[in-house]
Each structure stands twice: as structure tokens, then as C-alpha cells.
Amino acid sequence: MMNLDVVGQIVAGEFGSILVREKGGKKLELGDLLISREVNASLILQVFDLVYGSQIPRETHELMSGINLEKMPVNTEIFEPELRNYVLAKVRALAYLNKSANSTKVNLPKILPSFFNEIQLVNKEDLDFLSKDEDSFFVGKIRSGSKVLDADVWLPTKDVFSHHVLIPATTGRGKSNLVKTILWNLLPTKKVGALVLDAHDEYYGRHGLGLKDHNEAKDRLVYYTPSNPPAGANVLTINLQSLKPDHFRGIVTLTEPQEQAIRIYFREFKGDWISAVIQERPTQNPKEVAPITLAILKRIFRLTLGLDLDEDGNVISFNQVFDAGTRGQTVADDIVKDIEDGKIVILDTSRLVDEAELIVGNVIASRIFDRYQNYKVRGQLDRKPIVTIVVEEAPRVIGEDVLKNQNSNIYSIIAKEGRKFNIGLTAITQLTSVIPRTILANMNTKIILGNEMVQERQAIIASASQDLSKDDRNIASLDKGEAIISSIFVPFAIPIKIPLFEDLVKNQNEPKRNIKTKVF
């Protein structure tokens, strides 16, 4: 009796490219997950290409088509068309599942599925090995082609974020939705503290749904914005005393005389060094710094930090983020404290130029890095949450050009060494190809969204944790909200569908009804 679940049969091929004849009408898709059931085991397969197969030679098809098109009075009907013409799916094995009574062991496949085995579409029960751990976060549902299975994908929280995450995505493929979804699911856990440099002010939800709508946002989410903060949010003001010359390294291009000048000013004026440059105060030895160098530095600070002088000669900030007076003295420390409490801290950097945004991030990231280095020395690292720093347009800080022409910055240091101290980067980029391989190799989880650029796909595939050499077409055809997770923490490259953020918000449990509060 015919099994209605069967979608195809293995008819030929080789390891890495097995041919499955599609059963008539089943319409296999690129990316479909299939299963070949063996004795006491199964093989999970994935479609990476689709070709036509036929018992009739191609030339005959072309002739018949010509007769049809040229409207010749000849009958070109094919006898038993479903037998003679069909689709062949090229599949590769992703995983070998060894089922025992209590568990399923997952290994890399090393054998071919049984020849002529009937193939089915994977179902939820076949994927029960992707179970939730106590220490894992939800990232989406398994996707088979364009179909979404009712099987959740969980990633180990601490491992993933301490080993860096790369999100390569071109515009319009659902990157914001993905990041919001990840942060939404991280909010309730205290295991990860996150610093999010939000260059488009899109995560908090100032003008619509956002992370602020989470039931636990009050306790677990902190938002800083330069102006008009909504109730409960903080004003983003960084006191100039918090900025040191090192914070500019690798972010602002400075010549050697300029670098020397800022070190001289820092040595002499300490925390007041930036104001001293903008006010062009002379140093003890004025010959140390040429007037032209000082003038250029002043201009650099005006362009990057938005600082200038008012009529009374006081330093003012156009973007209202940096303060030369007494405000914002503890903001950086407060942010670090919140991150160390496992909270998500969003900085609205939409009003800042790139350099200013990265400098602000640098101030905080450097502090966290120093503190976590200290914790490691004192044997206290395991008591602290993992830290992740979410940076958009990552090539600004870890791109090849940046690292070649300038000194390394805190972000590249974290990319290379952060793992030792439980600090990771979550880097979002449209251009993976400009990030050095040494850094890409350290990014052990890649959540790959759709990408139409060949060069970028090649770079992603070359640095993936699994063999994605056959997934070029797959990646090119990923629709909005579809992704592939390639990570050392998953048994195979998992295709997922990321839930719509708006649905996550709508589906969250109603918050507990508060009793009316009495004011004493």
C-alpha cells in the first residue's frame, strides 16, 4: 500500500549529492528537510538543488516544444507524463540520528542512505533532539523550504554569546526583526547582559512595538536616549571626563602628531583634556603642540563629538550627548553596572555620527572588558553574566581596512580575545567579505539571512561552521524572516523561520494584574 507521506525515492547520486526522484505532485522546495529512515537510525537530508529528470531525451522535448509553439497540426501529448517527466531533487545528508530508548544521538553523516529508500518530509517528532535546555534561548522555528514546522530551535545562551555572533544580512531581509526577537527572548534571563548600540532607534519601541512592551522590561531593560526620554528612560549624557585618548584609537583616524598632541593634553589637563583642546588652552610647553595640529584636533572633535564653544567660551554639545560640566559623570558606570546585572541596555545613537556612536560604545565596552579581566584574575568570572555588545555595520570597527590602517579598537580586541573573558560581539553586517578571516573564524555562530550578493555569500559560506558549499542558491533565495543558523553549537546548519516580532508581543502572557498602589 502506498505511503501517503512519501515525497520521493533515492535513485542515484554520491555522497554530498544524492538524487531523489520527487513523487508526482509533491513539489519539493529548495531547503526542504527530508528524512530517510534506516534501521534504528535516520538520516536527515536537505534539498539544495532541483533539476528536471526525464525518460525522454532532451532533443525530443525540444522538438515537441517547437511543434507546440509553431502550432503544427501534430499531437504532442506525452504518454504517462508523470512517469516520463519528473523532478529530481539534489539532496545532501545533514545529520545521522541514532535513536535509542531514551535519547537521540546526533552525528555527522558518514554513510549514504539506503539505495532506493523512500523519503519523507521531516516532521516535529524527528527533531525532538533539538530540545530546550535550561540555559538556552528561543530563536525561531525549524523551516523546511518555505514551510514552518512546529519545532522550536533553541541555542545555548552562554556559549553562543561568549563565542560571538555574526548576522550577515542585506537590507530588507528581516535583520531588525531578528535582533529584536533575540533580545526579547534574552530579556527575562539574567545570564546575558547586552549593550546595544541602536543606530536607528528601532529596538526600544519609542513609536511602536518594541522591547519596552515585554512584561519584564521594567526590571530588565534600560534605555538611554539623548533627548526627550519617554517615562522610565534615561538621558544619554556622557561626561567628557569619561573620554580618554585610547577611546579614539581605531575609530578616529589620527596622524602621529595628532595622537601625540592628545596624549600631551591628557597628561597635562587630565579629565579636562578635551575641553582644553577645544578652548585651545596652551600647554606648559606650547612648542610641544603645533597650532595647526591643535586647530585640526578641535575640528575633529567638532565633527565627531559635536562639540564647540559658546559666546562665553564654554564647551557646548550640539548633539546634547557629551557634557563638559557635571552631568553624566556616572552614566558609563551605571550602564556597566546594569550590564553586569544581566540587563539589556539600549543606547539610542541615532543622533550621533558613526565615530561618536562607536566612541560611546568604546567607553563602556572598555570598562566592561577591564572589569571582566579583573574578575577572571580573581576567579569570579563564573559569577558574572556573559556580556554581548551588539554593533551594526560591523566593518566600521572590524573591517579589514579599519584594522590595517588604524590601531585595533575595543571591538576588534573583543572579537579576538573577548571569549576568554566571557565577552562577545554580536556583529551585524551587510558586507561579510571585508571582515578578516581571522575574525570571522572566531565568530562561531552565524545567523545567515538572505543575501543577493555572490561575493558576500561566498565569504559567509567560506567561514561557516558547517559545510555550506551547496547552499549558495539556498542563501540567495532566503525570503524575509528566513535564516540559516550555522554554529558550532548546533549539529547541522539549521534552517529557521524567525517569528514576527509583533506576534511575539501579542502572544506574550497578560501581565499579572497589579493591585492598586496606595501612596503613603
Binding site: N228, P229, G232, R327, T330
Partner: protein, 414 residues
């Protein structure tokens, strides 16, 4: 004025100054014929201070009442009571104080405040109290700000909380609240809880003023005063808007502070140095603060004779001598940090690692028994005050339980 913390001081000499300063402030207000007084919290150091403090307070507020100067208050984090069991409520009952934290009966979860209007100036005064451990944050999260912002006229907001955006390094460790939780558009924000004077303006928040404490509410206030921080109250002139804000200092006492870094020194050297230092100035009529910190390279911290130093200074006329050695430790007797998976484990491990340092004859204070005893004692000392328990009852309960754990019997005098 704010954070008077009446009843805080334990030493008699400082108690006199504490009350004297307050009395001076009241006299100044009467002399200047001010229209009203705002006290945004922590007028008292506890909700039911000692009788001598209560009697004094009644006397002073009666003076203001008879001078027809209303006093508008909110509870602070120290003098609040969830069951209106604070001396503030007694003073309110007799009309000497006016509490402005008034909540309207309104549907829904939001806190809708109503104002108290000063009859003479027509100023509308709203307020929210402080609670212990920053729990007043819940009030602000539920506050119906829109209704306050819509209110017309000259508006004052009384509150007892620190503001994140105005934090300085001195109070960096404190958990304050973001400025965005305050209602916008008020003419004056009278803040309490922060013990140093500050006056700031922000977009949508015209004048946020903290007078600071008038004397002290913490030991660190006296240190700050000794280093030059001025104490006093704020005088505000206004009609339809604020015309002038002036800080009025009250200087009733002089200070001298000795800061000594004992890091890397022997206890004997520290002793000699301090004894020599105190001979270099005249301590008469001054409050002397001796602050030491650092890790001694040899000797115990108890080998530094602070008692003798203190006695010598008092003999020469010092009003009071205050010793701060919280950050003083000894290399020979330092606490070794320990790790653990959770707080419980860490505590046990710290006790285990350090108990060997204590040279003591009693067996039950050594080894595993000692660790167990230390844990039980720590647990007991952590117990918080019950809602219907006053301070004395709380103290007695904790003491009794602690002595029981230590196996010490206390003879009852009665």
C-alpha cells in the same frame, strides 16, 4: 530644607548641634518672614524618634505655626510609615505639618495626585514620598503624569529620590531614578534624599533643587562638611515664576579631618603617626574626624589606640572625635575571598577559609562548629524589621535571638 535626620546623632555633643542647627534654620525662616517651608523627606531619622527629639520638633513646629508659616512635607526613606505611624503624622494631625502626598480616588491602576494649594501664594504643591530601599520607584512608574502636566498655575513637586542624570561620583553606587519619571513642566522640583546641595536645569524640568542635609544624616556627611561642603537650606523667591534661588548656609560648627593612608604600614607606625598628627592643631570646639584606610603590613587594626587618640583630643576641647576605619585591614588578618556557585556557598566558603585566622580558645567558635555558628548569626542579623514592630522591639528581638545563638544568657535587670 531637607534631610534634617533629626534623631540621627548618637553622641550627646552632636545631638546638641543637630537640634541647634535645626532651631537656627527655623529662626532664620521666621526672621525672614518666609511664606512657607518645603521639607521633601527625612525630617526625622526614623518614623518614631526618641522622645527628646519629638518634644523638640513639636516645639519648633509650633513656633512656625504661630508665625503662620505652613510647612509642607512628604515622607522620606527614613521617616515613612506604611500605617501612618510616624511622628510626622502626629505633627500633621495637630496641623503643624501638611503632608502633600495626596492620592485621588480614581479608576484604574494609575496614581493620580491632587495638589495642596498654599493659601497665601496660590502655589500648587504636589508630592510623592520616599520609601526605604528606593521602593518609591513604583509610585513614579504608575504616576499619571499627564494630569499633573496639564495643571495650570505655579506648580511645585516635592519628592524624595535621587535622579540618575544628576548623580555625581560621590553617590555613584546609589540606585536613583531617571529624570523622565518626574512630571514635566513644573516650576520647581524640591528634592530630598541627596545630602549635598545641587541646583540643576534640564529641558522640561526647570529647577531641580536639592538643599542637602542641614547637618548630617550619615557619617559621610560629616566628612564632607569637614572637607568644605556647605550645609544649609534653599531660599526661593517667586511670583508667577521663579525669580531667585539662593542657598543659605548654616554654619554652627567647625571641623578638622585627618585622612591617613595606612597601606603598607605597621600598626605601631600608624599609632605613632596619628598621635603626632593630633598635636599639630588645636582641636578646641571642633568636630574631629579621623579616617584611616589601607592594609597594614603587620599588626592588628586593634593595636592602633584610637581610644587614646580620642581621649587626648577631647581633653584638649574637641567637641567630638569620630573614627572611620571601615576600610582599614591587616595583611595578617585579611579576609580571603572565596568562590561558590551561589551566595550561600560563597558565604560558607568565606567563613571556612578565614576562620583559621581567628585565635580563640572556645571550641564552638572554631572549625566547622564555628562556621555553622557564624552562618546562623549572620542569618539572624539579616532579619528585617516587621511591619508592626517598632525600633526598640526590633532591636530587642534581634539581640535576644543573637545571644541565644551564641549561647549567652543575659541577666534581666528588672
Amino acid at each position: 530644607m531637607s534631610d534634617c535626620h533629626l534623631g540621627y546623632q548618637k553622641q550627646e555633643s552632636l545631638q546638641k548641634i543637630e537640634l541647634n542647627v535645626f532651631e537656627t534654620a527655623v529662626s532664620e525662616c521666621i526672621k525672614r518672614k518666609i511664606d512657607f517651608i518645603l521639607i521633601p523627606g527625612d525630617l526625622f531619622h526614623g518614623n518614631i524618634p526618641e522622645m527628646r527629639v519629638q518634644k523638640f520638633a513639636f516645639k519648633q513646629f509650633r513656633r512656625l505655626y504661630e508665625s503662620r508659616i505652613p510647612v509642607y512635607v512628604v515622607y522620606g526613606s527614613h521617616d515613612f510609615s506604611p500605617i501612618s505611624n510616624s511622628v510626622i503624622d502626629l505633627l500633621t494631625e495637630v496641623g503643624y505639618l501638611i503632608k502633600v502626598s495626596k492620592q485621588k480616588d480614581a479608576p484604574g491602576n494609575k496614581i493620580v495626585l491632587e495638589f495642596v494649594q498654599d493659601p497665601k501664594t496660590k502655589a500648587k504643591i504636589f508630592g510623592l514620598p520616599g520609601l526605604s530601599a528606593g521602593k518609591e520607584l513604583e509610585y513614579y512608574e504608575k504616576l499619571d503624569r499627564k494630569s499633573l502636566e496639564k495643571e495650570e498655575g505655579f506648580k511645585i513637586f516635592l519628592f524624595h529620590s535621587g535622579i540618575n542624570e544628576l548623580k555625581t561620583k560621590a553617590v555613584a553606587e546609589s540606585d536613583f531614578m531617571p529624570i523622565s519619571l518626574l512630571p514635566k513642566g513644573f516650576d520647581y522640583y524640591a528634592g530630598g534624599h541627596v545630602h549635598n546641595y545641587s541646583l540643576q536645569e534640564y529641558k522640561d524640568y526647570k529647577k531641580i533643587a536639592y538643599p542637602g542635609t542641614i547637618f548630617a544624616g550619615y557619617h559621610s556627611d560629616l566628612e564632607d562638611s569637614a572637607k568644605g561642603t556647605k550645609r544649609g537650606f534653599i531660599l526661593v523667591e517667586f511670583d508667577t515664576k521663579i525669580r531667585k534661588v539662593e542657598f543659605v548656609p548654616i554654619e554652627k560648627v567647625q571641623y578638622k579631618i585627618i585622612e591617613y593612608n595606612a597601606n603598607g604600614k605597621k600598626s605601631t607606625s600608624v599609632n605613632l603617626d596619628l598621635l603626632s598628627e593630633i598635636k599639630r592643631f588645636d582641636p578646641e570646639d571642633k568636630i574631629i574626624i579621623i579616617k584611616t584606610w589601607g592594609e597594614l603590613i603587620s599588626g592588628k587594626t586593634t593595636e592602633i589606640d584610637f581610644t587614646k587618640i580620642s581621649e587626648e583630643l577631647k581633653e584638649k576641647g574637641a567637641i567630638e572625635v569620630l573614627i572611620n576605619r571601615n576600610s582599614l585591614s591587616s595583611k595578617e588578618y585579611s579576609i580571603t575571598p572565596a568562590s561558590g556557585k551561589n551566595k550561600e556557598e560563597i558565604e560558607i566558603n568565606v567563613f571556612k577559609e578565614n576562620i583559621g585566622q581567628i585565635k580563640i580558645g572556645k571550641k564552638k567558635l572554631q572549625g566547622t562548629l564555628g562556621v555553622k555558628l557564624a552562618k546562623s548569626l549572620l542569618h539572624e542579623l539579616r532579619q528585617s524589621q516587621l511591619v508592626n514592630e517598632n525600633k526598640i522591639e526590633y532591636q530587642n528581638r534581634i539581640e535576644q535571638n543573637a545571644f541565644k545563638i551564641l549561647g549567652i544568657e543575659i541577666e534581666n535587670d528588672s
